[in-house]
Symmetry: C2
């Protein structure tokens, strides 16, 4: 059915047709010893919803995920990673072929300086854990591949829009989707709301089911991506 195919071509279902979308999702685990680790409350639900939405819009999706209790969405390729360093490595490996990069993962900002190779015994009354900054995945990818269309996520408990706009400019990325996590909000919940910010605009996506929200977000992403492609084409 040529007519139906043409019609489909005009709907959101093919907005990302033929594009390679790389997505990170979920938390990282920073080991302290073979048993204990530092992590965060990310369930991966938002990232997995974004991966599913991108695949439904015709993209070839690669998902670099932390440990989560979610199945891989249909039509999506997935690799499971452990620490921020592991996730960085896997992301770099797949960024070369990507057209869009969407960083939804809640990557640890700090990781222990030393990892004990045996379980730390609890003899001492106190324990001092020295931690160092992890390598910023978004910044690294943007430095290696400056032309890759990049969407960041920000989870903040306070001053959402200020942080979102500052992150967009500081990291020189194309779009930021920011959500409030005050009082545990957003984590492991079926719904979420997003403030989506780009260089010369922004829009509020109100609280809704994470899958619907992911579809709305991916339509905004596709629109901005296609506008940039057209602008580049005009400049050629």
């Amino acid at each position: 059915d040529i007519v139906r195919e043409l019609e489909n071509g005009c709907t959101s279902s093919a907005l990302l047709h033929g594009l390679k979308v790389l997505i990170t999702a979920g938390p990282t685990r920073e080991p302290i010893d073979p048993v204990r680790f530092l992590t965060n409350r990310s369930s991966g639900k938002m990232g997995y919803a974004v991966a599913r939405a991108a695949a439904q819009m015709g993209a070839e999706v690669m998902l670099v995920s932390g440990h989560v209790a979610l199945d891989c969405p249909v039509g999506v390729r997935r690799v499971i990673t452990e620490s921020a360093a592991d996730m960085l490595y896997a992301t770099c490996e797949h960024a070369k072929q990507a057209d869009l990069f969407i960083a939804t993962a809640a990557v640890a900002d700090y990781t222990p300086v030393d990892v004990a190779d045996r379980k730390i015994k609890k003899n001492a009354a106190t324990l001092h854990l020295e931690m160092k900054r992890t390598t910023d995945i978004l910044a690294t990818i943007k430095q290696e591949y400056p032309h890759l269309f990049t969407v960041g996520f920000a989870a903040e408990t306070h001053d959402l829009m200020t942080y979102a706009r500052s992150k967009l400019e500081r990291k020189n990325i194309d779009m930021i989707a920011a959500n409030s996590v005050a009082g545990g909000k957003a984590f492991d919940q079926p719904t979420n709301a997003l403030e989506v910010v780009w260089k010369n605009g922004h829009t509020s996506l109100p609280e809704m089911d994470k899958q619907q929200l992911a579809e709305a977000l991916m339509q905004l992403v596709a629109a901005q991506y296609n506008q940039r492609k057209l602008a580049q084409h005009d400049n050629d």
Copy 2:
């Protein structure tokens, strides 16, 4: 069918009939800020298998669980707890009515001294996390209820039997089930092996499915519990 009931009474299916069994399971989460926390690799599978086995053997089971990706076993009552302090509180609440206490949870030994009420920003190159010892749940319960029949678990990467015997004596508990977690072994796996130690004996349960293992363990527990009851009766 009186005959069948009598027969059942003689099999393992009713060994814990009428007894109240309190079980802790899974990891705890020690918050650093509203987003980040310290935890460990416990999946809760062994504890949930023990709860299921105890219920099948006729016990009234109360499960105090950390966050896990497991459904509550049929016939078991469950409460979900967050930190070591939360788990201690819930366990104390239910210990008063219990006949047996089986501590399978992987409780954090250390918790941050300060919990930030806002997400810690990643401005600094390093982060020092000061942690203090948590209150020992097993020791607290044993102190409050010295006559409660108590089974501890030990997950060690090295010197399994030495630690198990030392824990049994130091904490003055009735039985210890110890497993090796060297190289991530046992965590989130369907199988496990246990060294079961008590005052004047020990037995090795070889690697098998966690549910079978839990049933074998609970038969040993029931045997020791019933021996102690008989001994107390003789002394009366």
